[in-house]
């Protein structure tokens, strides 16, 4: 099989790339290892209301489970901060419909999407990657040859690694997550985030309300900081056990049913510096293009996919050197912002529950908006003024 571009992975990054590249008239093949695009769901499913409009898209109603007004952040001792405003409106998606819809858009533009087709190896000739070997449902692999190879593989990033990208995730750069879909849950039309080193060390528990009194309830915890043996668990971090403990303490969830039971790991490491190697590219979570504060990557993936695809036609027609423009543009437009988020994450990891509680009490709408816009200094200054002992930790945020 031959084409202009082969894309590995049909999540938000891969299908966004495929849509734009196919629109330019390129022959695009997308392979995805999953039997059904969008299944299993791998995340909390939240997306800001303004995000799809950036790509000129309007999400169909069936892919949106619920529109929420904002967020409720709960400190370790139970102090709740509500955050609602025009900027905080968001969708809780039905990811399996959302991902499939994005794929359908790409297919309508002429991309060929192949489910249950796992890219297992690269084809290299004369030191150059000329395609991938893919296996349909574990059968004998076949060749897909292409001028440009795009990894949109998410966390696994097997092909990205084989192409030479630094997509390996050290343990301190991942959060390990577990989630349930539960019902019934009476919500307040906001997403709920629970913080605390006992509840979710180096992460948080989320409750994302969905239609019909359902909720996506999950936990993400630092991959390296926990030794579950301490609380009589086994040697792994065991997010499921911590999530079960949280649910047991929640009056509503304790009685609720579960409809989905799943887990995974998510990158909280810095994005890859190198996003392009000759005719190979990496986009989305495979490039660690994930917000390290909340672990969200849907919007970033779609944006990177579109950005990269804008240079695909030139690369196919004139040679791969055009692809480097994606790397430059991404780092200018998104990379520097994400680096600031990493700084914040590193600081947050050093805070104990007592300090977290104090900081939560200083938060208001304006402060949260500043944090979201990477303007940390005003909040840091206010906190340090009230609790000078935090200067050492929060000082890094003053610049």
């Amino acid at each position: 099989m031959e084409c202009d571009v082969v894309v590995i992975g049909c999540g938000p990054a891969g299908s966004s790339f495929a849509r734009i590249a196919a629109q330019q008239g390129l022959e695009v093949v997308v392979v995805d290892k999953r039997k059904e695009i969008g299944v299993p769901v791998r995340c909390g499913e939240a997306l800001g209301v303004s995000e799809p409009a950036k790509e000129g898209l309007s999400i169909p109603k069936y892919a949106i489970s619920l529109e929420v007004e904002g967020a409720k952040l709960i400190s370790p001792s139970g102090h709740a901060v509500y955050w609602k405003g025009e900027e905080t409106r968001g969708y809780v998606l039905e990811r399996k419909f959302f991902d499939k819809w994005l794929g359908e858009l790409a297919a309508q533009k002429g991309a060929k999407i192949m489910a249950y087709t796992h890219a297992v190896d690269i084809i290299k000739e004369g030191g150059k990657v000329v395609g991938v070997k893919a296996s349909h449902g574990g059968r004998e692999p076949f060749e897909i040859r292409a001028k440009v190879i795009v990894s949109a593989e998410g966390m696994e990033a097997l092909i990205a690694r084989k192409m030479g990208f630094k997509s390996y995730h050290p343990l301190h750069e991942v959060d390990t997550c577990y989630e349930y879909e539960m019902a019934p849950y009476e919500h307040e039309n906001v997403i709920e985030l629970y913080f605390g080193n006992k509840i979710a060390p180096r992460g948080y528990v989320w409750i994302f309300p969905k239609a019909n009194k359902k909720a996506n309830v999950g936990i993400g915890i630092g991959g390296n900081v926990i030794n579950a043996k301490k609380w009589g668990g086994t040697e792994g971090a065991d997010p499921k056990k911590l999530l079960d403990e949280f649910i047991e303490k929640n009056e509503q969830l304790r009685e609720a049913s579960t409809f989905l039971d799943f887990g995974g790991v998510i990158s909280v490491g810095e994005p890859l510096k190198e996003l392009v190697r000759d005719n190979c590219m990496v986009i989305g979570t495979a490039a660690k293009q994930v917000d390290p504060i909340h672990g969200g990557g849907i919007a970033l993936a779609m944006e990177a996919g579109v950005m990269a695809a804008n240079y695909a036609e030139e690369a196919v027609k004139k040679g791969p050197s055009a692809l480097k423009k994606y790397e430059k543009e991404w780092w200018e437009r998104k990379g520097q912002q994400l680096k600031r988020r990493h700084l914040l994450r590193k600081v947050m990891e050093r805070l104990g529950d007592d300090d977290l509680d104090y900081i939560f009490q200083q938060l208001n709408h304006e402060a949260l908006l500043n944090i979201m816009n990477n303007n940390f200094a005003p909040v840091a200054m206010k906190v340090i003024a009230g609790r000078p002992s935090l200067l050492k930790v929060l000082g890094a945020l003053m610049g």
Binding site: G138, Y168, L171, V174, T176, G236, K241, F262, G263, V265
Partner: protein, 61 residues
Amino acid sequence: MITIKHEGCILCVGCSAVCPVNAIELKGTRMEHYAEKCIDCALCVKACPANVIKMVKKDGV
């Protein structure tokens, strides 16, 4: 070395994401462990959200 309890595995591929030597890969509908590549670092054990990967002593020694 490690063992994977496949019945409880949810195929999230978290283990392969954190494996520094590509010693665990998804093959069909099962995580395959390549013992000859494995360096016994136990990162996969820590990352596994389903807690189905364990360290065991070689040959019961």
